[in-house]
C-alpha cells in the first residue's frame, strides 16, 4: 500500500532509511523545520538549514523515488530567543517560492512560556499574511494538554485563520477531541515506546473515525522509528480494518490536506501498488 508520511525529519535519517521507506511504499513525505539537537547561534544557521530542506533533502528523496515537501519556521524550543526568532521569520521569504515548500511549521509551544507564545503568534501572523498553510507542534508529556489548549486559544482568537489549512500534530487521547471539534486537522505521532503507539493510534481512529486524522513517524533525533506508519498499517490490518479506511488515513487524507498548498504537485507513483507491503 502506498502511504505519505506527513511529519518526518529526514535530515536526521540515513540514506538507508530513505531506501527502506521507499521499499515500504512511502510515496511522499513532508518535513517540518525543527530543533537540530542543539540551539543554532545565528540566522545564518537557519538559512543553511532551509537550504538543506529545500535543496539537499529533495534530491536524496528523489534518488529513491520519494517526493519531498517541507515547512519552514523557527521551532518552539529555539523560539525562547525572541530576537533570533524575529530574524529567522524575516528571512523566510527568501525560501517561500521554493517548489517543495508547503507552509509554515512546525510552530508551536514546548514549555508553554510567554516567549514561545509571542513567537507562535508572530509566525501565525506571517502565515496569514502570506496565505501559507500551518503545521503545529504540540508539547509533550505533562505540558501537552495545557499547551494544546493555549495553541487552540490563539488560533481560534484569530478569525483570519482558515482552520481547514492547519494541521495540529502530536495529538493523543486527551487532546484529539478539542482539535477536531474546532475544525483543525490532527496528526498522531507514533513513537516506539514513550508516546503514542501504533495500537493507540488505531484506537483513536476507531473512536473518532478517519476524518481529518493522519499518522506520522516524526523520525527525529530521539528514539523514533521512521517506518512507524507501516507499523500502523499492519496494526489496522491485523484488526480487520478495510483497505479503504487505512488508505484514507495514510494516503488520501495527506493528499487532501497538502493539496490546499499551491506547491503540492504530487504525482502518484507509476509502480503498481501491489509491489509494496
Amino acid at each position: 500500500m502506498y502511504y505519505i508520511d506527513p511529519h518526518i525529519h529526514m535530515v536526521s535519517r540515513t540514506t538507508d532509511d530513505y531506501e527502506t521507506l521507499a521499499r515500504m511504499g512511502c510515496a511522499a513525505l513532508s518535513e517540518p523545520a525543527f530543533w537540530a539537537g542543539f540551539d543554532r547561534g545565528s540566522v545564518d544557521g537557519f538559512r543553511d538549514y532551509f537550504r538543506q530542506l529545500t535543496e539537499v533533502e529533495p534530491k536524496r528523496a528523489a534518488a529513491v523515488g520519494i517526493q519531498h515537501y517541507t515547512w519552514l519556521c523557527i521551532n518552539a524550543k529555539e523560539a525562547e530567543n525572541v530576537e533570533l526568532s524575529r530574524d529567522v521569520i524575516a528571512m523566510i521569504p527568501e525560501f517561500l517560492d521554493r517548489p517543495n515548500v508547503l507552509g509554515i511549521g512546525e510552530i508551536g509551544l514546548n514549555k508553554n512560556t510567554r516567549n514561545e507564545s509571542i513567537v507562535f503568534l508572530e509566525h501565525v501572523e506571517f502565515a496569514v499574511r502570506h496565505e501559507q498553510q500551518i503545521l503545529i507542534h504540540t508539547p509533550h508529556l505533562e505540558d501537552k494538554y495545557m499547551g494544546t489548549r493555549m495553541i487552540l486559544d490563539m488560533l481560534i482568537d484569530d478569525s483570519r485563520v482558515d482552520r481547514s489549512r492547519v494541521l495540529v500534530d502530536h495529538v493523543e487521547e486527551h487532546t484529539v477531541r478539542p482539535v477536531l471539534e474546532a475544525g483543525f486537522w490532527a496528526g498522531m505521532t507514533l513513537y516506539p515506546v514513550t508516546k503514542c503507539t501504533p495500537a493507540r493510534a488505531a484506537d483513536i481512529i476507531e473512536m473518532y473515525g478517519p476524518e481529518r486524522l493522519m499518522v506520522n513517524s516524526a523520525g527525529d533525533w530521539g528514539p523514533s522509528k521512521p517506518t512507524a506508519v507501516p507499523d500502523f498499517i499492519m496494526e489496522m490490518r491485523r484488526r480487520g480494518h478495510s483497505h479503504a479506511l487505512i488508505r484514507r488515513v495514510v494516503y488520501e487524507n495527506p493528499l487532501e490536506f497538502f493539496g490546499q498548498s499551491a506547491h503540492f504537485q504530487f504525482a502518484p507513483p507509476d509502480v503498481p501498488e501491489a509491489a509494496t507491503v
Binding site: 494538554y145 495545557m146 489548549r149 486527551h174 476507531e206
Partner: protein, 89 residues
C-alpha cells in the same frame, strides 16, 4: 465507526500482552521497595496510585483519564498571567 474485532477476540490477542505489562509494573514497584530510601510523599507516587485506580474502574476512556492525571491543568487565564496580547484578527 464499526470496530471489526469482538471483545473475546481482543482478549485472545492481548491477554499475554496485558499480563506482561502488569508484571512489568509489579516488578517496578518491587524494585522501588528494595531500593534504599523512600519515595513515600513524592507527588509522582500519588499520580501513579490515581492512575491505578482508573485501571480498576469500569468507566470508559481510561487512556484519556490517565493522560489527564499526568497533565498540568489548563488555566483559562493564561494570557493574563503570561501577559500575552491576543492579535487583532
Amino acid at each position: 465507526m464499526p470496530v471489526p474485532m469482538t471483545a473475546p477476540k481482543v482478549l485472545d490477542r492481548e491477554f499475554f500482552e496485558i499480563r506482561a505489562k502488569l508484571l512489568e509494573i509489579a516488578a517496578s514497584f518491587d524494585r522501588l521497595d528494595r531500593g534504599a530510601g523512600t519515595v513515600e510523599g513524592d507527588p509522582r507516587m500519588s499520580l501513579i496510585r490515581e492512575a491505578l485506580d482508573v485501571l480498576r474502574s469500569d468507566e470508559p476512556d481510561r487512556a484519556e483519564a490517565i493522560q489527564m492525571i499526568f497533565s498540568r491543568q489548563y488555566a483559562a487565564d493564561w494570557r493574563k498571567s503570561l501577559k500575552v496580547v491576543p492579535p487583532k484578527g
